[in-house]
Amino acid sequence: MAGFLARRLAGMAAVLLAISLLTFLIFQVIPGGDPAVRMAGRLATPQQVQDVRHAWGFDRPVYDQYLTTMEKVLNGSVVSYSQQINVEEEILRSLPPTLSLAVGAGVIWLFFGVLFGVLSAITAGRFVDRSLTVVALVGVSTPAFFLGALLLYYLGYRLELLPLGGYVHLTSDPWGWFTHMLMPWLALSVAFIGVYARVLRSSVLDTMGEDYVRTAHAKGLSERRVLVRHVLRNSMIPIVTLWGLDFAAVVGGGAIVIESVFDLHGVGQYAAESIARLDVPPVLVVTLLVACAVVVLGAVVDILYAALDPRIRLAR
């Protein structure tokens, strides 16, 4: 276990290094990327631009700039170019909505994905399975922001059942938090539910053909026990992988579209706004956050694997 964690940490460091370098370089080479020109303002003289460039160190070699930026990222003092506010504080501020979105939607899509997947598998080929397949495929084919816009219009505007976007803090108003998050959760979950249901369905069907399932039947276990203890436990492995990665992606700002439709001011929206301003430091920190989330959840997923399937060992 210790060796496994150590290897993972080393791998994480390597991935973070590569990603930070790449992100930094992308913004160095793109045209119009010179931050000094934008920071100096529209009516700046060449001398003023030069001053800004020097003050911020943009005239130093790229590797030097990269190292200084990374040092600032690590000790939490990096500021954005456009607004010159601390990036890490800004991200901490945008984490609550994003985490609320990820946790709530993650629970919803996992629960319904598994429910529909199992239902679909045990009724394979029959009416329930077919209708669930149609529902799943429609869900997979619907862009989340289209669904979000429809929910906002019909539930929020026409029926006035739910608030029209924005984020309310859980601690200040739990009920308000819940009602504000309900539509984003739904809009984000639907496509995932479709994917998970389809994956689990085929995974369950595959597992049902395994020898140990026949053995379980043969030794007289009830249908339900075989399904839950033997079939489902094994078929959950692909679902666990997917969930870990999708959850990590949402935490890291992967739900930009939903965040902007419902105006949640989350990490993704912050990233998108910073990208639009070609503001390197925030983009750098957000991408590092995504990578961290992906690596950490990947490790959690592997630990869960070992718990689900005793044949899998963590250490090689």
Binding site: P143, A149, V199, L242, G298, A315
Partner: protein, 355 residues
């Protein structure tokens, strides 16, 4: 070679040499022809494609306007009443169900139906080109990484890992915004910032690892098979072995991935355009139209519904067709296709793969 209709038995061979065993492609074709839903949804998608290709005809002969023509100050007669195309308060007219403004107008007084078809052409074009780019790059990278292994594999796989570490939409937005500023200059090709090839290229590149990874895995196991050894012993070069021995064995995987990537590419393009990092104004696409519509809600819901539903229908058609195609090609491949995100290398690491 007529496809057999459902329920029909193959006719007994009466003349000529005894029938050879049916090839896997014939069998797949038979299974495909038997699945009505697959064909119906494939047809639905084709219908959308044809409709969008006919956009100029519709614009010229039925709506009598172009996709970027403003009619903001004009009026239109509906059922004897004369209505303003865009009201003084800026609310555009809804569907008239007549030849002019069949699906209503947008805030600039442009005909939504015309823009929907032109936009669909752009969306589908981008989807198709992106899919082509993804498949070409993925086959190139996946087969060379799997076949040559060693350093080649190391470099290519790490490259894929880095792309994979970003959520597709985030990477797409970053590339889209970066390239929208000044276009892309690769020396040989020059893409200006409004070019449709730009979003296509971005979407195509973002999805490469999702296809290259599984292909690499398949090649890794294929290269150990006897027929590859046999080819090598015969003195064939690497390129010939790749082209003649490896590639034909990858065909069904590649074919299965095409509709899947097409659906995902169309969806990602819509997402990027919605965020302003895809197709640039005034060029229509379903994504940009949705973005405009969402900005104007609740004023004019038809601006959301028209492109949204069209998009869902097109993507659903591709998805159902792809689902059926996969079943036909490989009835046991259940979980592979939809779970294209499954074998993610950076995280679900060696521990599990080796087990």
């Amino acid at each position: 070679m007529t496809p057999l209709r459902p329920g029909m038995r193959s006719p007994p061979a009466t003349k000529g040499p005894p029938p050879a065993g049916r090839g896997p492609w014939r069998l797949a074709w038979r299974r495909l022809a038997r699945s009505r839903a697959t064909l119906a949804f494939g047809g639905l998608f084709l219908a959308v494609v044809v409709l969008c290709l006919l956009a100029p005809v519709y614009a010229h002969d039925i709506a009598h306007t172009g996709p970027n023509d403003n009619h903001i100050t004009e009026t239109v007669k509906v059922g004897g009443k004369t209505l303003e195309v865009v009201s003084p308060t800026g609310v555009p007219i809804g569907p008239t169900w007549h030849s002019r403004f069949f699906l209503g107008a947008d805030a600039n007084g442009r005909d939504v139906a015309v823009r929907l078809l032109y936009g669909g052409r752009n969306s589908l074009e981008i989807g198709a080109i992106a899919t082509l780019i993804t498949m070409l790059l993925a086959v190139l990278i996946g087969t060379s990484a799997g076949y040559f292994r060693g350093v080649t594999d190391g470099v290519l796989s790490r490259l894929l890992d880095v792309i994979w570490a970003f959520p597709p939409i985030l990477l797409g937005v970053a590339l889209g915004v970066a390239l929208a500023v000044g276009g892309l200059d690769l020396g040989v090709v020059k893409l200006h910032s409004g070019s449709l090839l730009l979003p296509a290229l971005i979407v195509g590149v973002v999805f490469v690892p999702y296809v290259a990874r599984p292909l690499r895995g398949q090649v890794l196991s294929l290269r150990r098979r006897e027929f590859v050894d046999a080819a090598r012993v015969q003195g064939r070069g690497h390129l010939r072995i790749l082209a003649e021995e490896i590639l034909p064995n990858l065909t069904s995987t590649i074919v299965v991935f095409i509709p899947l990537m097409l659906a995902n590419a169309i969806l990602l393009e819509a997402g990027l355009s919605y965020l302003g990092a895809g197709v640039q104004d005034p060029n229509p696409s379903w994504g940009t139209m949705l973005a405009e519509g969402i900005r104007l809600t609740p004023g004019a819901i038809h601006l959301v519904l028209a492109p949204g539903l069209m998009l869902v229908v097109a993507v659903l058609g591709v998805n159902v067709f792809g689902d059926g195609l996969r079943d036909a090609l490989d009835p046991r491949a259940g979980q592979r296709a939809i779970a294209m995100r499954l074998p993610r290398p950076t995280t679900a690491g060696a521990a599990v793969e080796e087990a």
